[in-house]
Each structure stands twice: as structure tokens, then as C-alpha cells.
């Protein structure tokens, strides 16, 4: 009984994670600008690994594999948003501004 429950729960988590990955992919293709595309793609960096790895951890049970999976999740959660931040900084440095960005009062676009 508990096994079936765990199976259903992990199935739900994996499907939800897959849905968010799909949403991130569609967003990365359909969004108009670099920054909005990055924002959409970051969905696959944050919520999707949490759901997917949680689903797999339920399948692995309480074992060494679960600890390794938790370590992988921590690594992904640390490096994904950092990579997005570095990408956005690099884009700003290269002079690529958001489409409808207006300069702040008193500053000019440099």
C-alpha cells in the first residue's frame, strides 16, 4: 500500500518536473528578448530539478543514492542561478540592453 502511494507520489513529482522543463523550453524559444528568454530558461534551473530529483529520491528510498541525489540537487541549485547571473552580467557588459529598458532618471545608457 505504502509502495503504491510512494510510486504515485513520485510519478506526480516527475510529471510536474517534466511539465516545468517543457514550459522552460517553450519559453526559451518563444520569448522576444534575451533577458526574458533567460528568465524562462531559469525555470529549468530552479523548480524543475527540485521536483524531478525529489521524485527520484522517493524511488531510491533511504539509501546512499538518496544522499548523492541530494548533493546533486544542491549543486544544481547553486550553479544554475549563478550561471544565469553571469550570463546576464556578460550580456549587459557587451552592451545588449533589454528591449524596452528605459534608463534610470539622471543616468544615461552607457
Amino acid at each position: 500500500m505504502l509502495e503504491t502511494l510512494l510510486d504515485i507520489l513520485s510519478w506526480l513529482l516527475l510529471s510536474a518536473g517534466g511539465l516545468f522543463v517543457f514550459v522552460g523550453g517553450v519559453g526559451a524559444l518563444r520569448m522576444p528578448d534575451l533577458y526574458t528568454r533567460m528568465h524562462a530558461a531559469s525555470v529549468t534551473d530552479s523548480i524543475a530539478p527540485i521536483l524531478i530529483i525529489a521524485g527520484i529520491m522517493l524511488q531510491a528510498g533511504l539509501s546512499l543514492a538518496s544522499i548523492k541525489l541530494a548533493a546533486i540537487l544542491l549543486f544544481l541549485l547553486l550553479t544554475g542561478p549563478t550561471a544565469s547571473n553571469a550570463l546576464a552580467s556578460a550580456a549587459l557588459l557587451a552592451g545588449h540592453f533589454p528591449e524596452h529598458a528605459k534608463p534610470l532618471d539622471g543616468e544615461s545608457k552607457q
Binding site: F75, L78, T79, T82, N85, A86
Partner: protein, 325 residues
């Protein structure tokens, strides 16, 4: 159900390969090559090749991307002209594809246990590993002990590539050493990548050591570990600047690592000879021959890891410190 994964990953491989050849922007092509390597590594894992998947991911997706980007920074970013002789090339390529596909109908059925390739030698190795070497990872046993000569040759190939790149790019003609101090200091003004990178580097190094010494018990070994340690130091060089990275691991030390690893491997072989056996005979390294084999594999994997780290770091520094930044 695994079939769906297989087909999906293979199709993604094809699409990525077409995109790599098609795109005129070289930067995009290099990034797609990183994605291609990761997809290939996933495919290898689905085909039960865990060691190979780890190596492909570490070396192909990690180090290869960095090297290509380093070369791109020194050359050009876009492809200037489209291809030449397109019709002849396409014709030759299509004919060959058709010929190979025609040949594949004669191959043994996929994953057939009775295929010729699984007879004679492979069952012998699977049997002998437990009694002669007694380590769980058969691939490391074959790589390190049964086919140790080939791995010695491989270490020397890596060594040759390292000194080859050092010959080509080692002499700084366009930048003097003092210029390095005026160079833009990595990503020092960007706080978030720098802090997160600083947190991660010790763990990447730790993972590299784990992979090195667990090569006998699970997927791992010297090559993957060397690539991981080199990746950690490259991350440090990207974040903190080249001059700091060269102070941490100076060029002389890297050259010592390159030669030292290969020397360690050769020394283990010669010690076997001096103790009365053949070259690379590990059984004599300890009173118990099986333990001698394990010690021998440990030592040579360490030699391999040291050389690979030194070579990859030297190549990275050769690319990174050249040019007029």
C-alpha cells in the same frame, strides 16, 4: 520503456550534430558541441558504459568546450565563407551513408549475448578479474592491469600533446609577463559568480580526489579525476584572474606534474622488472600478488591523474595568456 529514452536521445544527437555543422557562428557551434557531448554521455550511460560516460562528460563537455573557447578568443568568432565544393561533398557523403546503412543489415542483432564480440576474450576477463585482481570495476582492472601497456601509451599521448601545445604556444610573443599584472583580473568585479565559485572549488577538488581513488570500486579513474581537478583550477583562473592562478600553480610546477605522472607510471613498470618480473608486473609489489595488483593499479592511476591535470592546465594557460587582451 527505456526504448523511448534511447530513441529520443539519439534523435537529439542527430539534431545537435546538424546544427553544429550548419551554424556560421562558431561560438554557437562550440556551445552546441558541449551539449552534444553531454547527450553522448547520457547515451553511453544507457548502454551500460558508466566509466566512458563519466569520461565523456568530464573531458568532452567540460575541458573541450573551454579549449575551443580559448582558441576562439584568439582567432575568429564567425565563419567567414560558406562551404566549397558542396555538391561533390554532399554526393560523396550521401553515397557513404547509404553504403553504411546497407552494411548494418548484416550486423548481429543489437544487444545479442551470442554476438561474436562477446565470446572468447570478454568472458575470460570477467572471470579472471575476480581471482587475479579482485577489484569490482572490471574496466579499471582491464585498463590498469591486463592492458597496462595501452594505458602507458595513452599517458604518453597526453604527455606529447601537452609538450606539443607548449612548443607551439608556450612562448609569449605578444604579451610579456609583466603585462599579466595589468590584465583584467578575471571576474573580480562580479560578486555572485566569484563567491559561488569560491564555495564550489574545494568540493570540485574533493570530488576529483574521490573519483581518482574510487576508480577501482565504481566508475572513475585517473583520466576523469585529472579532468575534474583541472576544471576546478580553470574555474579559479576564470574567477580570480590568470596571474593569481599562475601564482597558485606556477608553470614550472605544471611541467613537473606533466613529466612526473608519466615518470611514476614508468617507474612502477621498471620496479616490477627490478624485483625480478616483467615490465609492468604488479604482482611483485607486495607479498600477496592480488594486493600487489591493487597497489600497482592505484599507483598508475595516480600517475595518469597527475599527468592529465598538468597537461590540461598547461594547455589552458597556453591559450589564456596568449593574445592581446
Amino acid at each position: 520503456m527505456i526504448v523511448v529514452f534511447d530513441v529520443f536521445l539519439l534523435t537529439l544527437l542527430l539534431i545537435t550534430a546538424f546544427a553544429i555543422v550548419q551554424t556560421p557562428n562558431l561560438f554557437v557551434a562550440v556551445m552546441l558541441t558541449g551539449i552534444f557531448s553531454l547527450l553522448l554521455a547520457s547515451n553511453f550511460f544507457l548502454l551500460d558504459a558508466a566509466d566512458v560516460a563519466l569520461t565523456e562528460a568530464a573531458v568532452g563537455a567540460g575541458i573541450s568546450t573551454v579549449l575551443f573557447l580559448g582558441a576562439l578568443a584568439l582567432t575568429a568568432e564567425r565563419e567567414a565563407a560558406p562551404s566549397s565544393n558542396r555538391a561533390i561533398a554532399l554526393l560523396a557523403v550521401s553515397v557513404t551513408v547509404v553504403a553504411i546503412i546497407y552494411a548494418t543489415f548484416d550486423k548481429p542483432r543489437f544487444a545479442d549475448p551470442g554476438a561474436p564480440v562477446h565470446q572468447h576474450v570478454a568472458p575470460w576477463y570477467l572471470e579472471k578479474t575476480r581471482e587475479a585482481v579482485d577489484i569490482p570495476n572490471v574496466v579499471t582492472a582491464v585498463l590498469g592491469s591486463f592492458r597496462g601497456y595501452d594505458t602507458l601509451g595513452e599517458v604518453f599521448v597526453v604527455y606529447t600533446a601537452g609538450i606539443g601545445v607548449l612548443f607551439l604556444l608556450g612562448k609569449n610573443t605578444s604579451r610579456r609577463q609583466d603585462d599579466l599584472d595589468d590584465a583584467p583580473l578575471g571576474l573580480r568585479h562580479y560578486l555572485i559568480p566569484r563567491m559561488v565559485g569560491r564555495m564550489l572549488i574545494p568540493f570540485i577538488l574533493l570530488f576529483g580526489l574521490y573519483v581518482q581513488f574510487h576508480g577501482e570500486y565504481g566508475p572513475g579513474g585517473g583520466f576523469q579525476a585529472g579532468a575534474l581537478v583541472a576544471a576546478a583550477i580553470i574555474l579559479y583562473a576564470l574567477l580570480e584572474g590568470e596571474n593569481r592562478a599562475l601564482r597558485v600553480l606556477p608553470r614550472g610546477l605544471l611541467k613537473g606534474l606533466i613529466a612526473g605522472g608519466a615518470l611514476l607510471y614508468g617507474a612502477v613498470g621498471v620496479v616490477g622488472m627490478l624485483l625480478g618480473g616483467k615490465f609492468l608486473d604488479y604482482s611483485l609489489l607486495s607479498s600477496n600478488p592480488v594486493q600487489g595488483q591493487q597497489i600497482g593499479i592505484l599507483l598508475i592511476e595516480a600517475g595518469v591523474g597527475i599527468t592529465v591535470t598538468g597537461v590540461l592546465l598547461s594547455i589552458f594557460h597556453a591559450f589564456a595568456t596568449r593574445g592581446k587582451f
